[in-house]
């Protein structure tokens, strides 16, 4: 697994400065949870890591490779770093199996038989071997999100980004998705997870970052951030969500 380093990343959309110089390290095999109020730039930060959003300033490194180097193709970067979205974003016109196969066929240019084998393997790992030929619209939210995870894993990524993966799910589905993510963490995947699931953060995260106003306000172990936050802003936020 690989490390991710973010150095001085800034990003503005028009007049709105969303990221104001972010520094962040994720070690190989580490699980980092990013928490913080909505609109604080958490999603944009994740998107800057796999270049879905191009940073205005600063660098992002995967191991020793500067991803922000203009000579590097964004397509290559995104094949190295998997991403899971809040709203799943499965390809609605394709079956579950073909959702997972698509990037293997059209980005990695793997032959059909190998792609199919990989897809079946990854879908079995997330417990959906019986849904290969179903369409996304026929699945529950939790099942769709697990397909999305399998789709990202099929590319054999060096790290995974999760952008509020359980925010659109019912409690039962949340559990099944978090279980898959927990197993992935155990296997040693490098992960950055934007989440409001404090239970998951406490149990699985190695480190928690509190993000506010476009920068990292505070970071530490889950206990440090949740129970003994140093910053007033962090304390206020934790009080609200932990109730």
């Amino acid at each position: 697994m690989s490390s991710i380093r973010v150095r001085g990343v800034r990003k503005s959309f028009g007049d709105l400065e969303v990221l104001r110089g972010v520094d962040l390290d994720i070690d190989p095999g580490e699980v980092l949870c990013v928490v913080g109020p909505s609109g604080s730039g958490k999603s944009t930060l994740l998107r800057c890591i796999n270049l879905l959003v191009m940073p205005d300033e600063g660098e992002v490194y995967l191991d020793s490779v500067a991803l922000t180097d203009p000579r590097i193709r964004p397509e290559w970067v995104r094949q190295q770093i998997g991403m899971v979205f809040q709203s799943f974003n499965l390809f609605t016109h394709l079956t579950v199996k073909r959702n997972v196969m698509l990037a293997l066929r059209h980005a990695k240019k793997v032959d059909r038989a190998t792609a199919e084998k990989t897809a079946i393997y990854q879908l079995t790992r997330v417990g959906l071997a019986d849904k290969l030929d179903a369409y996304p619209a026929q699945l529950s939210g939790g099942q769709q999100q697990r397909v999305a995870i399998a789709r990202a894993l099929a590319m054999d990524p060096k790290a995974m980004l999760f952008d509020e993966p359980t925010s659109a799910l019912d409690p039962e589905s949340i559990h099944e998705v978090l279980a898959v993510m927990g197993r992935l963490a155990q296997e040693g995947m490098t992960m950055a997870v934007v989440t409001h699931e404090m239970g998951f953060a406490k149990e699985v995260a190695d480190r928690v970052v509190f993000f506010d106003g476009g920068r990292v306000l505070e970071e530490g172990s889950p206990e440090e951030i949740f129970d003994r936050a140093g910053h007033e802003r962090t304390q206020a936020f934790m009080k609200k969500i932990l109730r």
């Binding site: 796999n50 991403m83 974003n89 980005a107 619209a137 990202a152």
Partner: protein, 258 residues
Amino acid sequence: MVYGAAGTIGGILFLLELGYLHVYRLPFALSQVNPLLSGFYLTLEVVVTILTFGFGLGFLIGWARTTRFIFLRGLGSIYVDFFRSMPPIALIFFASLIGAIELKGSNINPYEVHNITLWLGVVALALHTAAYQAEIVRAGILSVPTGQTEAADAVGISRFRSMFVVVLPQAFRLSLPALGNEFSSSIKDTSLLSVIGWLELSGIAFVQTSLAFKTYLYGSLVIWIMSGFLYFVVTYIVTRTVRGVEDLYKVPGLEVAR
């Protein structure tokens, strides 16, 4: 089913009414079948040409209007603005007259020149429907949620490729009902080709009417009822085909009532 039955009963009552008025004479109607059928085949030929050509061009222009290349977008929007604001009849005249003027005095034989001017009218109609279809295709592409392209980006598929494997298949499915509508409307526009001398269904109907009216007062009514029915047949074939394609592209779990 219910509508079909009601329509059939209505049609029979209407024909009985005409019979009562002595409008309807079977031998006369039968004598019109062959000429009208020859027009019908020509109409089919023209329709197939216009739909194929119009869809191909409309697709390309619609796509051009959604790219990030300002030049392509501008070109597409000028095209659509122009061809949507011209009445099709003006376009037909314009195209065939330009052709006639340009070919005047050339060494192509007159029969060929006439033929070319006729087909230029068909080209004009195809350009006209292409403008409408371009807008349908554009709307289809824009109605594919951005999350779909974002997901394709996130797994490392190039933008160009994701257009073909992610966006267009979904856009096509979403566009089909509107395309069927535009197809059926451009079928009826082919009747305008009679003004430049096409002997397709309407052209034949005009000729037969002028032949009949001296001997039989209501002849033109019978002829137009018959050709109306034949237009219905063409439209029905085309719209049913589109519906068949809709079924082909149906996504389980995403069915829409109709």
